[in-house]
């Protein structure tokens, strides 16, 4: 029994954290979130050079041949930085479906953008940016190339989502996987998004604690008030109990555990709740300044409101766990 990451995994996490601290400052997040700009593509290219984008692709296709347990801490960092880019869609979900095909190589090297619309939502992240999409038809996953779909932008509260509704033609698309792989893909998407939410929540807590230390009212830092302390403690409590649940789910997918879908649902339920609590606490502790568009905190808060719903919200995932645990099999 051992529930910890390896030194290699932690070192890679630190490398990505440092990279994002340098290359993905809040100013970049803000401009991408508000303008549907293209600055994320340069960042995406650098991330591909680091091996992060193609982490889950086979080495023969330019990837690192790694799995969800290697990826999960990196996803958390992309959440902490509110990094724009389809890391969940491409790296966590699409590449494991693409196997060792040409599209895997193109996606792994950032030569092509491959996104996915597999969670049952009518809206596909990066749908207007993708060179290919993986979409559901019946129980199958189809690969739909650029000329076989049209994307209509849809505004999410979180501009980084770059949602589009997709009009497409199943007839000119190629089947790449069936229902088992689709179920796994959904578990991968849920866990990856859960990991991002943990990072977003961690950043919201950090920002909020710093603000509570500095902001003074009634002659003292507001962080000395017990109500503010308890708000922050509650957010931390949710986060610290979400993390191991998320890591376990990544482990279960990595090892093909028969309960991996249930573990993935637990992960998304906990991370969605942790994100929502962190966002609420962050806003309440910041007060009016946190309500302004000028303050960076809101970029992370909006990320929560989008990601907590993506790949199923907390209540939906709890119901999936209930079906597995409570109902007679």
């Amino acid at each position: 029994m051992r529930f910890a990451f390896t030194d290699d995994q932690l070192t890679f996490r630190d490398t990505v954290r440092d990279f994002l601290a340098a290359e993905c400052p809040p100013s970049l997040v803000r401009s991408e979130a508000t303008t549907r700009g293209d600055a994320w593509r340069a960042l995406w290219g650098k991330l591909a050079e680091m091996g992060v984008v193609g982490l889950t692709a086979p080495e023969s296709r330019g990837g690192l041949g790694m799995g969800p347990l290697d990826l999960v801490l990196l996803l958390e960092e992309t959440g902490r930085a509110a990094m724009p880019g389809p890391i969940v869609e491409t790296t966590a979900v699409a590449l494991p479906l693409l196997g060792d095909g040409d599209w895997a190589a193109r996606a792994a090297t950032s030569d092509a953008i491959v996104s996915v619309g597999l969670d049952g939502s009518p809206f596909t992240p990066f749908g207007g940016d993708a060179d290919a999409l993986l979409l559901v038809w019946g129980d199958d996953v189809l690969l739909v190339e650029r000329d076989a779909f049209r994307a209509q932008p849809v505004d999410s509260v979180d501009g980084l989502r770059r949602l589009a509704s997709i009009d497409w033609d199943p007839a000119s698309s190629a089947r790449i996987a069936g229902s088992d792989a689709l179920a796994d893909a959904r578990a991968r998407g849920a866990v990856a998004t859960a990991a991002q939410l943990c990072g977003v929540a961690a950043q919201l807590i950090d920002i909020t604690v710093e603000y509570a230390k500095e902001r003074r009212q009634f002659g003292v830092p507001i962080g000395t008030f017990q109500a503010v302390k308890h708000h922050c403690a509650n957010a931390m409590l949710k986060l610290e109990y979400a993390r191991p649940v998320v890591y376990r789910a990544a482990y279960s997918i990595e090892h093909g555990d028969p309960s991996r879908a249930v573990h993935a649902s637990m992960a998304k339920a906990y991370a969605s709740d942790a994100g929502e609590v962190a966002a609420r606490v962050a806003l309440q502790v910041h007060g009016a300044i946190g309500y302004t568009a000028e303050h960076d905190m809101q970029l992370w808060m909006k990320r929560v409101w989008a990601l907590s719903r993506a790949w199923g919200d907390a209540a939906w995932h709890r119901e999936q766990v209930a079906r597995a645990v409570l109902d007679p099999s």
Partner: protein, 383 residues
């Protein structure tokens, strides 16, 4: 005392019918845009002018100031009908609900005659100038100051006001300024009425979560205000201002009609969308509907007390916590009912959710309100 009666009296029923008929005949065909943009503000102002022309802008005011001497119950009825008709909160609200009661209570006859009719007619639109960069929850931390100008018979105001709702579009500001820098924190402030086109005033719009410029920062640099625009006594501004915070927290800014109308909208959404088999969502919807009703009932109790001559006290803090947390829960339920569309930026539910999030912050944070409940309603020691 008459026995409890939760139905409209004949007069109230007639009033309700008249209000409903007028609103049905006169309300804009299309939903009004948000009043937090320059263009939207103008459209709303036009509508509110029409409301005034119809005699419905300030129903509870005396006739001479543009009202119709309606009772508080009739005011509640009007609000119910107004929101049930799908109409939005008014851009004039901070004037008519917060400043006006203060002018009625503390203003001179000259001030009443000058300020109130133009306010009712939306010729002047008033912004609230309480908060400052270092005076948020700690309102007594106000640092903006007014220096006596005996020569011109008035005061020179300097400082910065912030989080001023729709400040970029309003014509006037009411606010507190420190007139005796040597006095205690809660003393030495004076309540001023300031035209925003006065020399030395700079207004900077501030965008909020939904992207609209709902806030403004107001910079005052040696702005002259004549003695006629001091409301109440000099150096007694805190007491004067507190008279409106009760209104802000409690009754008037959040009349139940808005929430019962929103709750009905939520029920319609539930009926059209269903709960996706999510029993907790069904429960959240019915709780929101019941809470709006509970708020209405609580308000009816309060209005009965006020009609019997009581004044609103610290229990207004209970109302503020209740409506602000109810409003968020109601809109969260709405977003959940929307399912995958819940994250869309362009739905009324998302707009309403973002707006609701300000509730626990403004008019005194809910943390401060809970302190007030504990200390002033329950009698727990301050320190």
């Amino acid at each position: 005392m008459a026995p409890m009666d939760l139905t409209d009296t004949e007069a109230e029923a007639a009033f309700r019918a008249e209000a409903r008929a007028w609103l049905t005949a006169n309300k804009p065909r299309e939903p009004l845009p948000s009043g937090n943009t320059a263009a939207g503000f103008a459209v709303n102002r036009d509508w509110e002018r029409r409301l005034f022309d119809g005699g419905w802008a300030v129903v509870s005011w005396p006739k001479e100031y543009g009202g119709r001497d309606a009772s508080l119950f009739e005011w509640l009825i009007f609000e119910e009908e107004y929101y049930a008709a799908g109409l939005p909160q008014r851009v004039a609200q901070n004037g008519i609900f917060l400043l006006a009661p203060t002018v009625f209570e503390f203003g001179t006859q000259e001030q009443r005659d000058r300020v109130l009719p133009r306010m009712a007619a939306v010729e002047d639109v008033w912004a609230q100038g309480w908060s400052e960069p270092n005076a948020g929850s700690d309102l007594a931390g106000i640092a903006s100051r007014a220096v006596r100008d005996d020569e011109r018979g008035g005061w020179r105001l300097s400082g910065q006001k912030t989080w001023t709702s729709r400040g970029a579009f309003c014509s006037h500001l009411f606010g507190l300024f420190r007139t005796d820098p040597d006095a205690d924190r809660h003393r030495g402030m004076t309540y001023f009425l300031v035209p925003l086109d006065a020399g030395g005033v700079t207004v900077r719009p501030v965008d909020v979560l939904d992207g609209d410029a709902a806030f403004a920062e107001v910079f005052l640099d040696d702005v002259f205000v004549p003695d006629d625009d001091v409301l109440g006594e000099v150096n007694r501004g805190w007491e004067v201002a507190m008279a409106t915070t009760g209104s802000e927290r409690g009754l008037s800014l959040r009349s139940p009609g808005r929430f019962t109308a929103e709750a009905e909208r939520l029920v319609r959404l539930y009926r059209s969308r269903g709960d996706h088999g999510d029993g907790t969502l069904r429960d959240a919807v019915v709780q929101a509907w019941m809470d709006a009703e509970a708020y209405r009932l609580n308000t009816l109790q309060t209005v009965t007390r006020l009609s019997d001559g009581a004044r609103i006290g610290p229990e207004s803090s209970l109302n503020k916590v209740f409506w602000s947390e109810m409003d968020i829960a109601l809109h969260e339920a709405g977003l959940r009912l929307l399912g995958d569309e819940g994250e869309r930026a362009d739905t009324g539910w998302m707009k309403g959710f973002l707006f609701s999030l300000a509730g626990p912050i403004y008019a005194g944070t809910n943390e401060i309100q809970r302190n007030v409940i504990a200390e002033r309603v329950l009698g727990l020691p301050r320190k």
